[in-house]
């Protein structure tokens, strides 16, 4: 497994090996799936759309619907205007969504297609909406595409009518439907009225009923997106993912915002609950206090199995930072934190975390790849890996347990239904991490050291 990876590090400036990011459009597609009765539309050649649908379907094990402008060579030369026009007509005719959310691709970006012009010229049925965002694949990553699409919805739809709605606008970060459900549950428990964009719960974790519905019950409604402009405050969870649209909403509709880390782990969830408390002025209910207490109980009961264990965490920037936080709360050492998404802020945030917990010698790197992480591990190994499916080769090559967290997880089931955020999510993470480490101890120990009670 990965036998060709040498231990010796070498400088690379052109070659990406085993990437830790993918391109913008897939993030845009995921965001658009979190809007109710929305058809994500990929303006490019049909391979992009196919790859992205395939990829999302593999992660969620649920249909990821989207359409394509199906560029051929002709469209690539003469522009994709007529393809988009035809596509819009056909989509409304055949699939009848409320809204089409167009994102671009490296193809349509390179030829400089004018999406605003095309959409203005398109025949859009009465009451239906078409929005767009630019997602050049050669800038940023899927995280960039995700927040660009959220921003696109706001740009086209959010309005400040002058009358506040007393609601909280919540940008959940690049998380699973299970996480979005947990955020909503916590907000409801805190008595906070909210608008969450996007909301893929009820879409990408839609129930089996025996009859297929192209537009399941979930997703942020168009009227709610419009109403975002009237919110009192935005909470942008996951600073590297959600600040961009929050900032845009502030500029457009004067909704002030506050950024917070993804609520992964004790302190990050505390910060989220405190922000909700501050917003609603409602006391924190016992139900939440109880969950927090349970989490603290678990972390203390089990600390001996995690204390000083070293871990490498890879994936999307906010998820990695959140996972680093909870690992440190469990007494672990996050020796390597890597993300494929470019941006030095990731490294700065990681450094602050290391300092907060008094850790030295931990490395954080953005715009990194799994090949490099593997080389680091070959030189100085870790006790645990945390991240998505693509790390499984390293886990096998180096015989390190892997806890699957984040995106994408294309080789396991159920993960997208379960939260990693909130105290409940932290309890789940504690169980996953403890099981991985303790199963390993059981597997590796001598017969005479096998513990019945642990």
């Amino acid at each position: 497994m990965l036998d060709l990876t040498p231990k010796e590090l070498s400088e690379r400036s052109a070659l990406r090996i085993n990437p830790l990011k993918t391109c913008q459009p897939v993030g845009a597609m995921y965001a658009a799936l979190g809007v109710h009765a929305c058809m994500p539309h990929s303006h490019g050649s049909q391979g992009c759309c196919s790859f992205h649908r395939m990829f999302l379907t593999r992660h969620f094990k649920d249909p990821a619907i989207a359409s394509s402008s199906s560029f051929t060579e002709g469209a690539s030369v003469f522009g994709g205007g007529s393809n988009l026009k035809t596509a819009i007509k056909n989509i409304f005719d055949i699939y009848d969504p409320e809204i089409i959310a167009v994102h671009t691709t490296c193809l349509s970006e390179t030829i400089g297609d004018d999406l605003v012009g095309y959409i203005n010229d398109a025949k859009i049925p009465e009451g239906k909406i078409v929005v767009h965002t630019n997602t050049p694949s050669y800038v940023g990553s899927h995280i960039t595409g995700y927040y660009n699409m959220i921003t696109g919805f706001i740009k086209y739809l959010a309005e400040a009518t002058g009358e506040k709605n007393n609601k909280l606008a919540l940008f959940p970060g690049f998380v699973n439907p299970g996480d979005m459900r947990e955020m909503k549950r916590l907000m409801t428990l805190m008595g906070v009225e909210y608008i969450m964009l996007p909301d893929t719960s009820g879409v990408m974790d839609a129930p089996m009923t025996g009859s297929y519905n192209m537009y399941p019950k979930g997703g942020t409604t168009i009227s709610d997106i419009k109403d975002l402009g009237n919110c009192e405050l935005t909470l942008a969870l996951g600073e590297l993912t959600s600040e961009f649209p929050a900032d845009f909403l502030e500029k457009k509709c004067k909704v002030p915002y506050k950024t917070l880390p993804l609520p992964i782990g004790v302190e990050n969830t505390d910060a989220f609950i405190m922000a909700l408390n501050h917003f609603s002025k409602n006391e924190v209910p016992y139900a939440i206090e109880e969950e927090r207490g349970q989490l603290m109980d678990i972390l203390l009961d089990s600390h001996q199995y995690t204390y000083n264990k070293s871990v490498a965490i890879y994936g999307d920037p906010d998820t990695v930072l959140g996972m680093a936080q909870i690992c440190m709360e469990m007494g672990m050492i996050p020796k390597y934190l890597v993300t494929g998404t470019p941006g030095k802020i990731f490294e700065q945030k990681a450094k602050i975390l290391f300092e907060k917990f008094g850790l030295e010698g931990c490395i954080a790197k953005s715009a990194a790849d799994l090949f490099e992480l593997h080389q680091w591990i070959k030189n100085d190994s870790v006790d645990l890996l945390i991240g998505g499916t693509h790390g499984k080769y390293i886990a096998r090559a180096e015989d390190i347990p892997l806890v699957r967290v984040g995106f994408p997880i294309i080789d396991r089931y159920v993960h997208s239904y379960m939260p990693i955020v909130g105290y409940k999510g932290a309890i789940r993470l504690a169980e996953l991490i403890l099981n991985a480490l303790m199963d390993r101890q059981d597997r590796d120990c001598e017969d005479e050291d096998m513990e019945m009670v642990m």
Binding site: L2, D3, L4, P6, S10, R12, S13, A14, L15, R16, I17, N18, P19, T22, C23, S45, Q46, G47, C48, S50, F51, M54, F55, T57, P63, A64, I65, S67, S68, S69, S70, F71, T72, E73, G74, A75, S76, N83, L84, T86, I88, I91, D93, I94, T105, C106, L107, E109, T110, P136, S137, Y138, V139, M208, T209, G210, Y212, N213, H390, Y393
Partner: protein, 529 residues
């Protein structure tokens, strides 16, 4: 109205006009003409992918000892990393790159100023770290648009590093589907690799073309062929390698499994080296038996013919009891089957053996010859999209040209029904009244599901869960749902087991919640007590 008309009727006139040529009902005694390999309609949720997917993803990726650099932004390389189940195994002499994904991860500056410099650097970095014998470069959409000359970069690097470096201009917008990419990959392999080796010819040697070793299919096929006594020179391309492919021209016979993706190489090798190609099918017991007997007839060695019968008998014996059992579970079921460009056809005989009738079928990117047979080829007019995909011609190679068969023997075999340079397409096995949908889309899937109510639907990952959410079991026939192999006799049994499992999974009977069919309120009416 029949099912076909009911579905088409819902389209706007423009879409109707296009789709009515692609959706037909098979009628006995009719020519059953279908339209295929034309542009997908924008906005229609086609299941098709792109040229890059066909070239890099399908044909080239399985070559295990080749480091393939995707030249473009990160996505395309990322999506084709480890996601197609072309199993491969390296050894001490073969570096296996299957676990690696290489990309130039082009950034905005590369798009603006050109990406050649970065590509050159990336090649150098691959050579420095991995020192492979062969590097391939596959371009993605923007590369063609900004005009990077990847072929010049490849030629220069080949000279510089003394290893084989081949470029493929397989930008996603070329052609109308993955199919264009297969063709481009075929051209490159033919131009730059096949025929460059100097291995000694082997007796009874074959190449296995269009076998990508999904789920280990190629290994199972190889096991059977070796049992009989054939020597396999190369497999194109599942668990194949640059090293083997170089010597492909030394084989006596080309066996073509996936006609769609590799018939170009088969044809060109016939012209250049005189090697006959035989359409084979290692899926389904009837398919395999015919194929093994055809191959034996080709070589016409009494020992091989006898050995073939022994192997067939032994292999069949091993699975008969199991197959008989699964047939009792499956007899009378109906199926829909939509896969790439050949696979749909391959499975029909296997389903028949199990008593399953195909009521709905089609290809994602097949051409008319994949449906109607190669006889239709001369009547297919090339459109602008087909012309945009490079087509090359080859000349006879006098040094390496050989004919295994005498013209008389060739004629004799053809008359005996051995499909040498012959492929009769899906029509040869499909039953009457089946609905055929070319380049099927989401809408048609949903509608035909309701109208034809198949018991099982074979398709891919994008529609799998749409189908299952409609209450119909679905198995992926691109990836075998991470199981397999399905080729060979043992594979047939795996297949039977897997579809029985899909249909009889206990959870199917639990979908309906009890309160949906039982009144919630119990008790008596007010005032009666």
């Amino acid at each position: 109205m029949d099912s076909r008309e009911k579905v088409l009727d819902k389209y706007s006139s423009k879409v109707y006009k296009n789709r009515k040529e692609h959706v037909i009902t098979i009628e006995e005694g009719e020519p059953n003409v279908i339209q295929a390999d034309t542009r997908a309609i924008p906005g229609i949720m086609t299941n098709r992918g792109c040229c890059y997917a066909g070239c890099k993803g399908v044909v080239l990726s399985p070559l295990k000892d080749v480091a393939i650099i995707t030249h473009g932004p990160i996505g395309c390389g990322y999506y084709t990393w480890g996601t197609r189940r072309h199993k491969a195994k390296g050894d001490e002499n073969t570096k296996s790159f299957g676990e690696y994904c290489f990309s130039t991860d082009m950034q905005e500056t590369d798009i603006v100023f050109g990406g050649e410099k970065k590509l050159k650097k990336a090649i150098k970095e691959v050579v420095d770290i991995f020192n492979p014998n062969c590097i391939m470069i596959c371009s993605t959409c923007p590369v063609g648009l900004i005009g990077d000359d990847i072929h010049a970069v490849a030629a220069e690097a080949e000279e510089l590093y003394g290893i084989k470096i081949i470029a493929f201009s397989c930008e996603g917008y070329k052609g109308v589907s993955q199919s264009g990419g297969h063709h481009i990959a075929n051209n490159g392999l033919m131009k730059s690799i096949i025929g460059t080796g100097d291995a000694e010819p082997m007796k009874y040697s074959v190449n296995l073309l269009g076998e990508y070793n999904i789920g280990g299919d190629g290994w199972e096929t190889e096991r059977i062929l070796k049992r009989i006594g054939y020597n396999i020179v190369s497999i194109m391309t599942g668990d194949g390698s640059y090293a083997e492919l170089k010597n492909a021209h030394t084989a006596d016979l080309n066996l073509v499994q996936c006609h769609r993706s590799i018939n170009y190489i088969a044809e060109m090798m016939k012209t250049k080296y005189g090697i006959e190609w035989l359409k084979v099918n290692f899926i389904g017991i009837e398919g395999i038996k015919k194929t093994l007997r055809d191959i034996a007839l080709f070589f016409n060695d009494p020992q091989l013919i006898a050995r073939t019968e022994t192997v067939i008998a032994e292999e069949e014996e091993e699975i008969t009891e199991g197959m008989d059992y699964y047939k009792t579970r499956l007899e009378g079921k109906t199926a829909a089957i939509y896969v790439g460009g050949s696979r749909t056809h391959h499975y029909i005989n296997l389903l028949k053996t199990l008593g399953v009738e195909v009521v709905l079928a089609g290809y994602e990117f097949g051409h008319r010859d994949d449906y109607e047979g190669r006889d239709v080829l001369p009547s297919i007019k090339l459109d602008a999209d087909s012309k945009n995909v490079e087509s090359i011609t080859v000349e006879k190679d006098p040094e390496n040209f050989k004919s295994f068969l005498t013209p008389e023997r060739l004629e004799e075999l053809k008359n005996a029904g051995v499909p040498i340079e012959v492929y009769n397409g899906l029509w040869s096995d499909i039953n009457d009244n089946a609905v055929i949908t070319d380049d099927y889309n989401h809408f048609e899937t949903e509608e035909f599901l309701k109208l034809l109510k198949p018991d099982i639907f074979f398709s891919g990952i994008k529609d799998k869960f749409i189908i299952q959410k409609s209450g119909v079991p679905s198995r992926q026939l691109h990836s075998y749902d991470y199981a397999g192999p399905y080729a060979g006799f043992r594979g047939a049994l795996n297949f039977a087991k897997d579809i029985t499992m899909a249909i009889y999974a206990p959870a199917w009977n639990l979908i309906q919640a009890p309160w949906k069919s039982t009144p919630t309120l119990e008790g008596s009416l007010g005032g009666t007590e």
